[in-house]
């Protein structure tokens, strides 16, 4: 693959520096980083789009051609109330420019382990080695390989029993840097956990976030995982989330995107044992020149799996939204019940939506389906409201709020839901005054 050589040299220099500076890390981790960087050098970024179905609609060349420095020095102080004012009542583990921040983190409730990965290498060595890089393979994924090569700090979460307090893992970026946030969430058998994983920028201007999150649900575990992307409008954001489900586990996910300039979010859920259940919701709101690409794979590997995917998007101005969904039912995964749906609201003549909800089915005793729609707000609906004396702007706002409520109503954390509803309309310039 062709790409700017300079970028690679920069990554290589940074990689050497990292390996030297972290000489006290366990040997297996250093080996892992080495292998991953070697692989990254072989495959690079997925810049060749011709014939590359997975990257058909998203061009990462601008990001591959640019170099961002590693964070250095002491991170700027961050005002939590200003930068992420939506985690009232949650426990928090915070990272600033990729590094754990004791100052911004809070005490944790019983039954919950949440700490910096750097600390977990020694304190939870078994769990870390059993799961880290086991669910997010880097062999064919350039971005995951790069993240793994720079694997140093990140969040480690382990739940035991039913944890009532939601946990907020927040990654703040304060300047023009590249970060490779890494998150590992392990749900012990029959535990219950609610996690909010958010990505925010403390300032404007370009930066590059290349995150990898692994979620392992052991037997009967229930994890509710809400991923919020609210970085600034110029940020490059590439996210890879890999979920592994054991028997009878339930994974609930919300992907919320109202930020980032060039965004790619890959989510793969592997239902690897009987009776696993996945509920995936998503909402993407784009304006300006944003490009947001969601690629969601649901991999039904075993019988009696159940999955529901429901993504919605609002696309305004010159922005572009891409949805690629795949429901894969492997041979023998009988009695699978899977449905995916993607609905798009297009508000501008210059906006573009590309949706590709695919099914790949290799077992016959299954129920699988998908639906997709795209279009503007229905004239009839607008007319109906106007005939009742509501002015057009207000009517539009009501209808947009109605459109997103199907997704956001699933957020059971009240203050967070309210904040998200507000954030959604604020992400659309046309409503900034009306609201």
């Amino acid at each position: 693959m062709t790409q700017a050589v300079a970028t690679h040299e920069q990554y290589e220099a940074d990689f050497r520096k990292l390996q030297e500076s972290r000489s006290s890390d366990p040997g297996w981790l250093k080996d892992l980083r080495n292998a991953a960087f070697g692989r990254f050098q072989e495959i690079g970024f997925p810049v060749a789009r011709k014939g590359n179905e997975l990257w058909k609609y998203t061009d990462v060349r601008p990001l591959a051609a640019e170099t961002f420095p590693q964070p250095a020095g002491v991170p700027a102080s961050v005002d939590a109330a200003q930068v992420f004012p939506f985690d009232d009542g949650m426990a928090r583990v915070a990272f600033v420019d990729g590094r754990f921040s004791q100052e911004l983190s809070t005490p944790l409730p019983d039954g919950l382990v949440a700490m910096s990965l750097a600390q977990a290498y020694t304190e939870h060595s078994d769990d870390v080695q059993r799961h880290l890089s086991q669910h997010a393979p880097y062999a064919d994924e350039g971005f995951t390989a790069l993240n793994t090569a720079f694997l140093a700090d990140g969040a480690f979460v382990l739940s035991e029993g039913a944890v009532q307090t939601p946990l907020h893992i927040v990654y703040v970026t304060t300047g023009r840097v590249v970060t490779h946030p890494r998150t590992l969430i392990v749900g012990r058998p029959t535990s219950e956990l609610s996690v909010v994983e958010s990505y925010v920028s403390a300032t404007g201007g370009k930066h590059f976030t290349n995150s990898v999150t692994e979620v392992a649900l052991e037997e009967g575990a229930q994890v509710t995982h809400r991923r919020l992307l609210i970085e600034n409008q110029e940020a490059y954001h590439v996210a890879t989330t890999r979920v592994h489900q054991s028997r009878d586990s339930v994974y609930r996910s919300l992907v919320y995107e109202a930020g980032g300039g060039l965004v790619r979010n890959d989510l793969t859920v592997l239902l690897d044992a009987e009776g696993a259940e996945a509920h995936l919701k998503g909402l993407y709101v784009t304006a300006g020149k944003q490009h947001v690409d969601n690629n969601v794979n649901i991999d039904h590997a075993k019988p009696h799996g159940y999955s529901r995917l429901y993504y919605k998007g609002i696309v305004d101005e010159q922005s572009k939204a891409v949805f690629g969904g795949l429901v894969l039912v492997r041979p023998g995964a009988d009695k699978t019940d899977a449905y995916q749906e993607d609905k798009n609201l297009i508000l501008s003549h210059e906006a573009e939506v590309d949706s590709k909800p695919a099914l790949e089915i290799y077992a016959d005793d299954v129920k699988a389906g998908h639906g997709a729609t795209a279009g503007a707000i229905a004239d009839e609906a607008l007319f109906y409201m106007q005939s009742r004396g509501i002015d057009p702007e207000q009517a539009m706002l009501f209808l947009v709020r109605g459109f997103v409520s199907e997704i956001l109503d699933s957020v059971t954390i009240e203050p967070l839901r309210e904040w998200l509803v507000e954030r959604t309309t604020q992400a659309l310039p046309r409503f900034r005054e009306a609201a």
């Binding site: 014939g51 179905e53 041979p331 023998g332 009988d334 798009n344 297009i346 508000l347 501008s348 003549h349 210059e350 906006a351 573009e352 939506v353 590309d354 949706s355 590709k356 909800p357 695919a358 099914l359 790949e360 089915i361 290799y362 077992a363 016959d364 005793d365 299954v366 129920k367 699988a368 389906g369 998908h370 639906g371 997709a372 729609t373 795209a374 279009g375 503007a376």
Partner: protein
């Protein structure tokens, strides 16, 4: 004229035969070009067809471009096949007896007439099918075209494309390659260089073609590819319904069929194009069979024009085919109705493209896929709404039925919208024959096998309804034959 009503179908037997019954070989002396592909072969094909200089040049241009593609076929589809040796095939094969174009049917080799009789396509005057004009194509040449006189009276030109190049060069030069340019894709480029015969049809303004037109393609010779080229033009306010059928002998080796079909509908014109694709699918173990890699595209060039594709795909070892419509004229309509059935080791990656350019354009896609045995069937379809396509509408429905646990059914829709006034809906389902439906039929005394066929037939009904009557009968029969061994 003959009064007897004979359907344009392959001879039917009362009981279902499990063997591919169109698999016979006609033993006839052939005139073959040497094996391989190079500029000399391209020139030879052109010379054999007595083509004018511009046609030869156009072929060579395509051939030179094809050479730059370095034998790299498109590989994005969900099909797999070993590398094709393009130098190990014959690109021209014609029955010797056809060397001098026959003036009338009396000059046609009786062997050939017999071959088509066996296929259920009688060409003799007294046996001709009523209401259907047939262009019969055997390997690289057109053998006979029936009802040409009657069509001529209506002003309709219906003839082999080689004849059209000679007699109607202005129409051919204007439209050939205007919908599928020679640079379109690997197989279209190859076709533009070596296309043998095919059908040309022009319906003048305001004329409703008085009968159905049909082309029957037959591959006979071994080691040949068939590269037909079809061009249909419906001038302003005209209407034509065109049918296409095809078969090939059973052979152990694979044969390549790379056709290009172009349709052009001008203002207020309508073209209805129906295909029963029944190329040899290979044997039960996946040996042999035709690689059906074709490019079919229609252009609704005029206002209020309409192009409708209906296809029933049961044959071929591998199908790679996406009959598409470019909706350029305002208020134009594109339709795609498809049943694609795969059994044993067949692979099909088929669907459509609806490209909306004009205002108030509408498209409908109904695709039914049936997979059985160890086969893989994929629906792949694109709906693209361009910025200028105000108030475009699309409705897509793709359903897949799985029979047996070793096959696969896949759905890959692409939806690209660049206009907010567009309205698109896409739905798809995948399942097997429902136990409840089977139970309901069986408790009324219908045996399981018949019940399965009834359900599968019902599954395909919306598509079969779009076919001309005789074709619909044949289609459901074909389905039954193709599923033999997989059901019950």
């Amino acid at each position: 004229m003959v009064a007897e009503k004979k359907p344009p179908v392959i001879s039917r037997t009362s009981e279902v035969e499990s063997e591919y019954k169109w698999g016979f070989v006609t033993d006839i002396e052939m005139d073959m070009a040497p094996k391989g592909l190079n500029e000399d072969i391209v020139r030879l094909i052109s010379r054999k067809k007595n083509e004018p200089e511009w046609m030869t040049e156009s072929r060579l241009k395509a051939f030179r471009y094809w050479m730059t593609l370095e034998y790299k076929e498109p590989r994005w589809a969900k099909i797999s096949f070993p590398p094709i040796d393009y130098q190990d095939a014959y690109y021209y094969a014609a029955p010797k007896s056809q060397e001098a174009a026959p003036e009338s049917l009396d000059d046609v080799d009786p062997e050939l007439i017999e071959a088509f009789n066996k296929l259920g396509i009688p060409l003799e005057e007294q046996k001709k099918m009523t209401g259907v004009a047939v262009d019969a194509i055997f390997d690289s040449v057109s053998v006979a075209t029936t009802f040409q006189k009657q069509l001529e009276e209506a002003g309709v030109i219906f003839c082999p494309i080689s004849e059209a190049i000679e007699k109607h060069p202005e129409l051919v030069r204007k439209y050939m390659g205007s919908v599928v340019p020679y640079t379109d894709n690997f197989f279209a480029t190859l076709n533009a260089a070596v296309f043998s015969d095919g059908t040309f049809c022009y319906v003048p303004p305001g004329v409703k073609c008085p009968m159905e037109l049909m082309t029957y393609f037959r591959i006979n010779a071994e080691g040949t590819g068939q590269f037909e080229r079809t061009l249909i033009i419906a001038d302003k306010g005209s209407y034509v319904s065109y049918l296409e059928g095809c078969t090939a002998p059973m052979r152990k080796t694979n044969q390549l069929h790379a056709a290009v079909v172009e349709l052009i509908a001008l203002d207020d014109a309508e073209i209805k194009y129906s295909t029963l694709q029944n190329w040899y699918p290979g044997d039960k173990d996946g040996n042999g069979g035709v690689y059906n890699f074709v490019t079919k595209r229609g252009k609704c060039a005029g206002r209020n024009s309409k192009i409708s594709w209906t296809q029933v795909e049961t044959g071929s070892a591998i199908t790679w085919k996406y009959p598409s419509v470019i909706l350029q004229g305002d208020n134009s309509v594109g339709e795609f109705y498809s049943v694609a059935l795969v059994n044993n080791y067949q692979q099909a990656d088929t669907g459509t493209k609806m490209i909306h350019l004009g205002k108030n354009t509408k498209s409908t896609i109904i695709a039914k896929g049936i997979s059985a045995g160890k086969a893989q069937g994929t629906y792949r379809g694109l709906v693209r709404i361009m910025p200028g396509a105000e108030n475009a509408r699309n409705f897509t429905r793709c359903d897949s039925l799985l029979i047996g646990s070793e096959c696969g059914a896949h759905t890959v829709p692409y939806i690209e919208v660049r206009n907010p006034t567009a309205h698109l809906e896409h739905e798809a389902t995948t399942s097997r024959v429902s136990d409840e439906q089977l139970f309901y039929l069986m408790q009324r005394g219908i045996n399981e096998e018949d019940a399965q066929y009834m359900i599968i037939n019902g599954f395909c009904k919306t598509v079969f309804n779009e076919l001309p009557f005789e074709f619909a009968m044949e289609a459901s029969q074909l389905l039954k034959v193709s599923l033999e061994g997989a059901v019950g």
